[in-house]
């Protein structure tokens, strides 16, 4: 019997009102404009696993992450973490208790720490906010422990964020995320702003911590190679929809959705294996006026009339008519 998943996201939607100001609309006689940033996304995360959301700009992955932790209100759908609903108004009290256990690591190491606070105060904030430990001396000790855990020195607590490098700042952010004994951490492009060698350190650290404390990660990234290294299951998003969800090893050896395949082909080939590649077509369309039916159809080598009209439903983790109908792509022979 499968245990209930730790995080359940069901049919999540987010619509932004991007209409021009009222006066402009009246003068130009233009209608209100809405941006469907997230359009019906559903996935589960099991306890202790790393679920990655991959996509390019405009895919809505960061918006999903923010809705999962409650930084953004949802326009539709539900999020449930360990049985507690994030969207139901009546469960506010349980949500308050849940807050302690979920934290977020952000992309920009410069903006994610208050430049005017010393590092020890930054890390101690969740400890104090949730009264995890009482007493000044205990808090000091705990902050020192956390700093050591992420590979820094307890004395570093007295410094300001600008005295650290990007990678070290990200370590501080990780220490802060762990400070309240959280077990669910949402990571929004945590290494995108870091150099490659620093990225390696941070990714290794995150994996070690996951092993040690049984953490569950929701990992957002646009970098498929990084995701390959970190994730157990992966969801690929395009223009606000989840087009494919697979186990990590399956996705890289056998991508099913044409967009997944295109993404993989677009990744620069470090091994220079000269592998067969489908040339990449077009660019991401304007999310305010997305294409009809399956939003990927203008760029899809397998598109047919049905794709233009009907948005595919997700069946067995893939939302694609071609997969359902068994249409295959013929890769042109290498020149």
């Amino acid at each position: 019997m499968n245990p209930r998943p730790y995080v359940e996201v069901t049919d999540l939607k987010k619509v932004f009102d991007v209409s021009k100001p009222w006066l402009n609309r009246v003068l130009e006689q233009s209608p209100k404009q809405y941006l469907k940033a997230v359009d019906g996304v559903s996935f589960d995360i099991k306890k202790g696993e790393t679920f990655a959301l991959v996509g390019e700009s405009g895919s809505g992955k960061s918006t999903v992450a923010k809705m999962v932790v409650g930084l953004l209100g949802v326009s539709g759908g539900e999020v449930t973490i360990d049985g507690v609903s994030m969207t139901d108004k009546n469960q506010a009290a349980q949500r308050a208790k849940l807050r302690r256990r979920m934290q977020m690591i952000f992309q920009d190491p410069f903006a994610s720490l208050n430049p005017r606070w010393r590092v020890d105060r930054i890390i101690a904030e969740p400890i104090r906010a949730f009264s995890v430990v009482e007493g000044e001396a205990e808090i000091v000790a705990r902050v020192g422990e956390l700093l050591t855990l992420v590979g820094l020195h307890p004395d570093d607590g007295r410094k300001f964020p600008h005295e650290f490098s990007g990678g070290q700042r990200q370590r501080v952010a990780i220490a802060r995320a762990l400070a309240s004994n959280s077990d669910f951490i949402v990571c929004d492009e945590p290494t995108s702003a870091l150099d490659v060698s620093v990225q390696a350190q941070i990714l290794n650290l995150m994996r070690d911590l996951q092993e040690k404390f049984g953490l569950t990660y929701l990992f957002i990234s646009h970098n498929l190679a990084v995701v390959r290294h970190m994730a157990t299951r992966i969801g690929v998003m395009y223009l606000g929809r989840l087009v494919e969800v697979s186990e990590a090893k399956d996705m890289f050896t056998n991508p099913r959705h044409p967009y997944t395949r295109m993404l993989l082909d677009a990744v620069p080939d470090l091994a220079m294996s000269g592998r067969q590649r489908i040339p990449v077509a077009g660019e991401i369309p304007n999310p305010i006026t997305p294409p009809s039916g399956c939003t990927f159809h203008p760029r899809c080598p397998l598109a047919n009339e049905r794709c233009v009209v009907e948005a595919p439903r997700s069946i067995d983790g893939v939302a694609c008519h071609a997969v359902v109908e068994g249409r295959k792509l013929v890769i042109p022979a290498a020149a």
Binding site: S57, G166, D195, L203, N204, H229, P268, E283, I284
Partner: protein
Amino acid sequence: MNEPVISVRNLQVEFVTRRATLRAIDGVSFDIARGEVLGVVGESGAGKSVTGAAIIGLIEPPGRISGGEIVLNGRRIDNLPPDEMRKIRGRKVAMIFQDPLTSLNPLFRVGEQLIETIRTHLPMNERQARNRAIELLTEVGIPAPEKRIDGYPHEFSGGMRQRVVIALALCAEPDFIVADEPTTALDVSVQAQIISLIKKLGRERGMAVMLVTHDMGVIAETADRVAVMYAGRIAEIGPVRDVVQRPLHPYAKGLMGAIPTLEASASRLVQIPGSMPRLSSIPTGCAFNPRCSEVFARCHVDRPAPLPVNGRRVACHLYDQTSAEIFSAEASR
């Protein structure tokens, strides 16, 4: 043997600050031939952008070129007076910057910016320049260029904007282009398109291209040769296939091992301990010695000169005959 289009010898760039004089580039040498793409790769602080800026003549005080020479088509350009340099900039050397949003003036139509640049460097009237601009837009792959030439930058998507920036760089038929992180601000799928465009243009026009980036994958796809920079020096320079697949310099080895790939992964990425030294505290001897796993005594004392090894140049004592003996003597003790 073809003369290289651009030849940099022992370039040194310093920044004079209140507290100290920092050497951002310390003895960098390389050549780029016609139609060749040299990738310059390194992490933040390695000095790759400064190298590009120095060649274009965009180093502003408190920075200055304090040594070495830059030779373009046989002519020295590092010591030219500003107006001479201005004539060269755009006409013979062009630069593509990272952010297409800020590289184009949002207030002017794309066509106006192209035509202005063309007419600055080439003797053409308005109509000739406009036709030329449309040709360029076609060459960089903008669909329906006759219509889009009158568009404003914000009406283009990110990838299209970068193509316009490339067209702008090509306006005056330069011999040499510096591309500073041209794909970093773009999505992965667009990145692939821009990479192949740069490669194609370099080859077709016989230009020398210096591609500066931190992304090794882009280098592997685009470059013919690659220079790995560390703390203002070149650690290893050679054909891209060799350096990427069989790196010799310990830093290059660490770098390649730290990059996650799409293939089945090892459980841990290679981790180089520590971080790149600040310019104010570059170690004596080899700049990499505090972090190197194969360090030995000589590394703390002598700065390694680039040594020829198997068709590349590696700045590492491990490949020096004399020190190799010392090393193995130490190891066997």
